[in-house]
């Protein structure tokens, strides 16, 4: 069963040349000076029940515009969206009943109130029955331990607690679909891990359909069976995680600081080696050489004092995709 259906979705914005100040912005309404930018450019995909999709791409690629169109905040310029068989544009409230949304950067809870009050409000907002509400409190205490801070005002919660509270809030009406915008942003490793295992749990056990955007490749690896990559408003990759791996590998980086200036030797199966005095930086692909194997090689060059590894970043992943696709700019159609 298809939960989300997107066809040829396009969003164009008129960008006005605005002058500063209220009057300026008002006047610029009447002057025709503007250009069109296409934030989302004819994308199509469909999501089946129980899928967990990682929606990735650099900032300004069109991810959040797409999410906003899926949730009825923005109306498309062209194309069709259907969520649970309904258009978010025409039946916003119906779609809202079936959606849970979390914006990682800003909370949707009532800042000055104890967490419990926020849940009471949402409960009324989504017309939840007493029994269902109690089931919710119990279930999410089990999964996210929200019971530990139900009486704490939201402004006093730690970032990790707040994110757990926000996740539970988005699920209070038991929606079949969940949109998560950067759900792990700013969290420490422990908190990230607890959020991820929670999401995996509700994805597997309750067959919740999840669409998440993230900058963290770990989120994708741990959660998303399918990856949709978007750039300049277009889908440049849509497939399972393995497809992504095949296309780009698992780009990683390791930095080694040696006690003495290292004796560099030839290194197979890595991409780039940069040496500066006692420091060596190696770009490599985890699919082709495992970190322990690489370290063993690097140990032969001298005695390492400090080793730092860096996880692949979305930007790097994108760069690689483009490496094989030539310049992306030449592909986008000129704005009409």
């Amino acid at each position: 069963m298809s939960m989300i259906e997107v066809q040829d979705l396009t969003k164009e914005f008129k960008v006005y040349r605005t002058k500063p100040g209220a009057l300026g912005s008002l006047l610029s309404l009447f002057s025709g000076e503007h250009r069109r930018i296409r934030a989302v450019d004819g994308i199509s995909f469909s999501v089946k029940k129980g899928e967990c999709i990682g929606f990735i791409g650099p900032n300004g690629a069109g991810k959040s515009t797409t999410i906003k169109m899926l949730s009825g905040i923005l109306h498309p310029s062209r194309g069709r969206v259907s969520v649970m068989g309904a258009s978010p544009q025409h039946r916003r409230k119906y779609v809202a009943q079936n959606l849970g949304i979390v914006f990682g950067q800003r909370t949707q809870l009532w800042w000055d109130l104890p967490l419990r009050d926020s849940y009471e409000i949402l409960r009324k907002m989504y017309r939840l029955e007493e029994k269902a509400y109690h089931r919710f409190l119990h279930r999410y205490h089990d999964l996210l331990s929200i019971g530990d801070f139900l009486e704490t005002p939201v402004r006093k919660l730690s970032l990790g607690q707040r994110m757990r509270a926000d996740l539970a809030a988005a699920l209070i009406h038991d929606p079949p679909i969940l949109f998560l915008d950067e759900p792990t942003i700013g969290l420490d490793v422990m908190a990230k891990e607890s959020i991820r295992s929670f999401l995996r749990e509700i994805n597997r056990e309750e067959k919740k359909t999840i669409l998440l955007t993230t900058h963290d490749m770990d989120d994708i690896e741990r959660l998303a069976a399918r990856v949709v990559m978007i750039n300049h408003g277009r889908i440049i990759l849509d497939g399972c995680l393995e497809t992504l791996r095949e296309r780009i590998g698992l780009p990683s980086m390791i930095e080694v600081h040696y006690r003495e200036v290292p004796r560099l030797a030839r290194l197979d199966r890595v991409e780039r080696v940069k040496a500066e005095g006692k420091n060596v930086t190696v770009h490599y692909d985890r699919n082709r050489i495992s970190p322990p194997a690489l370290l063993a090689e690097l140990n032969r060059w001298g005695e390492p004092v400090d080793i730092r590894t860096k996880e692949p970043e979305i930007e790097e992943v994108i760069r690689r995709l483009y490496g094989e696709q030539a310049d992306p700019r030449s592909k986008t159609a000129p704005a009409r």
């Binding site: 500063p20 209220a22 300026g24």
Partner: protein, 260 residues
């Protein structure tokens, strides 16, 4: 000269908002026309029992609206409270320029901007609609400027007083409200102070608020002898400045002890 630089920077910073302020000026003008209409309604047929003719009162209200932008509508707490809250006040106090001068010269830059983009446009519109008082005697221009400057000085000091009090109280919105009320009522914004009932008029004429609007307008309209109109504002201007300098020293010591 650091203060001059702060003054200039603040002036040009506000230049970018002049379109928005133009809209706000329309609001100020409507308020002005309202007060003029109220007084016309009140004084019509009763001019004989009033020390002000309808024309004089119209001029009084027009002058008031343009003066408000210089001595009354200042930045809440002169932006000191946020600096106290985020701790940057300690840094600013440590600078070689005295904190009082640092804060007031920035605000003075904004007021200088207000003069050109708020007071003058407002005065200009009144000039072509209901007439704006322009004194014949050249010395009135000079004394008018002196008395407006004193008004600005008092305004800066009152706002500074409330701003710096946030070193002790943190929350100043109540104090700000009360200060604004007193400025309007005892400053002579709607009613020339000498028209208030007698005991209140006596008090109001000797309070610092009278120097914000009432006395400058009186000088401008040549309704009072210059000396009489300058003595009260001068007294308060000096006293409040000295008091604020002393208070700043106290605040500095408090910050040094408690580290903000």
């Amino acid at each position: 000269m650091v203060c001059l630089e702060l003054f200039k920077k603040s002036f040009s910073r506000h230049l970018q908002y002049r379109a928005a302020h133009l809209i706000n000026n329309i609001g100020s003008l409507v308020f002005g026309f309202m007060y003029i209409a109220i007084w016309q309604g009140v004084l019509e047929g009763k001019e004989h029992s009033s020390p002000y003719s309808v024309t004089e009162m119209t001029h009084y209200m027009a002058a008031t609206q343009s003066l408000l932008m210089l001595s009354v509508f200042l930045t809440v707490g002169l932006d000191i409270p946020p600096a106290v809250r985020n701790g940057s006040i300690s840094l600013q106090m440590a600078r070689p320029v005295h904190y009082f001068l640092y804060v007031t010269s920035q605000e003075a830059g904004r007021l200088f901007y207000n003069l050109f983009f708020r007071s003058l446009p407002i005065a200009l519109v009144f000039a072509v609609t209901v007439g704006y008082p322009l004194p014949d005697d050249p010395s009135t221009w000079l004394w008018g400027a002196v008395s407006v400057t004193l008004g600005v000085l008092i305004g800066l000091n009152l706002f500074y007083l409330i701003g710096i009090s946030s070193c002790w109280t943190l929350e100043i919105s109540g104090a700000h409200f009360i200060n604004m009320t007193l400025m309007f009522a005892l400053g002579g914004q709607m009613v020339p102070l000498d028209l208030l009932p007698s005991p209140l008029a006596g008090i109001a004429l000797h309070f610092p608020f009278s120097g914000l609007i009432y006395y400058p307008v009186m000088v401008w309209l040549e309704k009072l002898p210059v000396v009489e109109a300058l003595i009260v504002p001068l007294f308060w201007g000096v006293l409040l400045t000295l008091f604020n300098l002393w208070l700043t020293g106290w605040a500095r010591r408090k910050l040094e002890v408690q580290g903000g």
